[in-house]
């Protein structure tokens, strides 16, 4: 009886791990898409609203999903409170502390960091141009992430369950 309970526990645990890993694969393209729409919003704020960066980030944080909302909130907080630091430094510190909470990978991080180097540092048309480039690059990453999702999501889920079953069989 105890053995059976143990076996069920093992299978449940490995399946849970498998599902968690699969969630990462599922969330990544979705979050990249959200990030793209946040950048589109930023573009509007810069183009028509001509709002200061911190204020624009606040508004985006309100509209975005939870993990991205935290990132943009942190952007805004750093821009307002980190006295004497450059724009890039404020944004970089926010990314370093918040990126881990998202499902996004280092490619997207690289694109955003590159954007942060120029954000707030040039005239309007230049800003819009850089935002467009970042959005295009993110779209490419999103497509890649979707392919990966299709490839690996189911596989990892099944792998989780099966590895549990294998462990149980070996133990019996």
């Amino acid at each position: 009886m105890l053995k059976l309970l143990g076996a069920v526990l093992i299978i449940l645990t490995t399946s849970w791990i498998g599902f968690q890993l699969a969630t990462e694969f599922r969330m990544r393209p979705r979050q990249i898409q959200e990030l793209r729409s946040s950048l589109a919003l930023l573009k509007t704020e810069i183009d028509y609203g001509t709002r200061p960066l911190a204020e624009a980030c606040d508004r985006i944080a309100e509209a975005a999903g939870s993990s991205l909302s935290q990132l943009f909130q942190k952007f805004s907080r750093n821009l307002r409170t980190l006295d004497g630091k450059s724009t890039y430094e404020c944004l970089r510190l926010a990314i370093e502390s918040e990126w881990r909470k998202t499902a996004m990978g280092k490619e997207e991080k690289g694109i955003i960091l590159k954007l942060c180097q120029v954000l707030g540092g040039s005239n309007r048309s230049d800003q819009l141009h850089h935002l467009e480039i970042a959005a295009e690059n993110l779209l490419m990453e999103e497509q890649k992430a979707r392919v990966e999702q299709e490839k690996y999501e189911k596989m990892i889920k099944t792998f989780g369950i099966l590895s549990g079953v294998l462990l149980v069989i070996l133990m019996y």
Binding site: I46, T50, R51, P52, L53, A54, A56, L79, D83, G84, K85, S86, T87, C90, G120, G121, S122, N123, R124, D126, Q127
Partner: protein, 324 residues
């Protein structure tokens, strides 16, 4: 006027140096000049100094701290509140007004479009000009300027950096607040270069008086007409008149029964009365009081007060001396 907002726009590398300057220097600090790859310079009353990394003042440029590209970029980030794209207009003008009414002049590479300045990029030179609001500088002049409890049309003649904006601001405040000798008037300031009121987001950073309306960043001639129509001021205040359109707008204002405080760049009354645009105004005796400033005994030295017949008035009341 607090110098603190100036520190807030400086990156730490430069701020630490400037903040460690002796209090006596900070009190008289007029400009901080940052040029990429060249020595850090400060200007105090009548003197310029290079500043070393350890906040020593020196006349030798090679002893000075050299701000790098990073410092300049950071300074630009802080001046623009991390949002340079909101400052397209300011960059076209070549200066930004920050909190406290302090003014930062910028130079770099100009981008032209159709022969007109479109934008400024690669900004590598900064002149942080510290605004000193001196409340009460106009007080000794008041009996001379408003002798019979009546507001005169005042023209302040002065070379650059002699305190004409400080004086006109104090005059505006004085008239706007009123005193025992004169009632409070409605004052309208056309602040083309954001110098008189030093507005940030439309809010005056200097005390310009309780009954004062400020039209910020508006061309003078157009602004005077706008204010007369919209705010019905008793007194109009404008800085640095001199174009043909200005003189036309002044005529309009005078015909509308509005009084005028204005300033103009110049070295002497005689020189000003000969200028083509102003000559007409003088012939019509528009300005009933002329104040000539110089820097002989420090900024704001009053060289003389004249009436519309170019007769000197201040001899009767004794020397003013330094008003600042």
């Amino acid at each position: 006027m607090s110098i603190k907002p100036v520190f807030q726009v400086l990156p730490h590398s430069i701020r630490d140096v400037i903040q460690s300057l002796p209090a006596s220097v900070l009190e008289r600090l007029e400009e901080v000049r940052v040029r990429q790859g060249r020595p850090l310079e400060i200007i105090t009353f009548k003197q310029s100094w290079f500043v070393s990394r350890f906040a020593h003042l020196s006349k030798k440029p090679y002893e000075a701290m050299i701000p790098g590209k990073e410092d300049c970029l950071n300074l630009l980030n802080l001046i623009s509140n991390h949002s340079l794209y909101t400052m397209d207009e300011e960059l076209r003008q070549g200066y930004v007004t920050v909190e406290g009414g302090h003014r930062i002049g910028l130079v770099g590479k100009v981008v032209l479009e159709g022969g007109r300045v479109k934008h400024l990029r690669d900004i590598t030179g900064f002149n942080v000009r510290i605004a000193r609001q001196v409340v009460g500088v106009a007080d000794p002049l008041i009996p001379c300027l408003f002798g019979n409890a009546k507001v005169e049309n005042v023209l302040i003649i002065s070379p650059p950096q002699c305190g004409k904006t400080t004086l006109i601001r104090d005059l505006a405040r004085h008239v706007s607040r009123g005193s025992q000798s004169i009632p409070a008037y409605k004052v309208g300031i056309v602040d083309e270069r954001s110098e008189i009121a030093g507005c940030v987001a439309g809010v005056p950073q200097h005390d310009v008086g309780p009954r004062t309306d400020v039209l910020d960043g508006c061309p003078k001639a157009e602004g005077m007409m706008m204010l007369i129509r919209s705010m019905s001021p008793d007194v109009l205040v404008v800085d640095e008149i001199g174009r043909k359109a200005d003189s036309e707008a002044i005529h309009e204002a005078i015909y509308a029964g509005v009084h005028l405080f204005a300033t103009v760049h110049g070295q002497s009354v005689r020189e000003i009365t000969r200028r083509p645009v102003l000559r007409e105004l003088f012939q019509e005796k528009v300005f009933t009081r002329l104040v000539l400033l110089s820097r002989r005994r420090g900024p704001g030295t009053v060289e003389g007060i004249y009436n519309q017949f170019i007769e000197r008035l201040d001899n009767k009341v004794g020397r003013m001396g330094t008003i600042c």
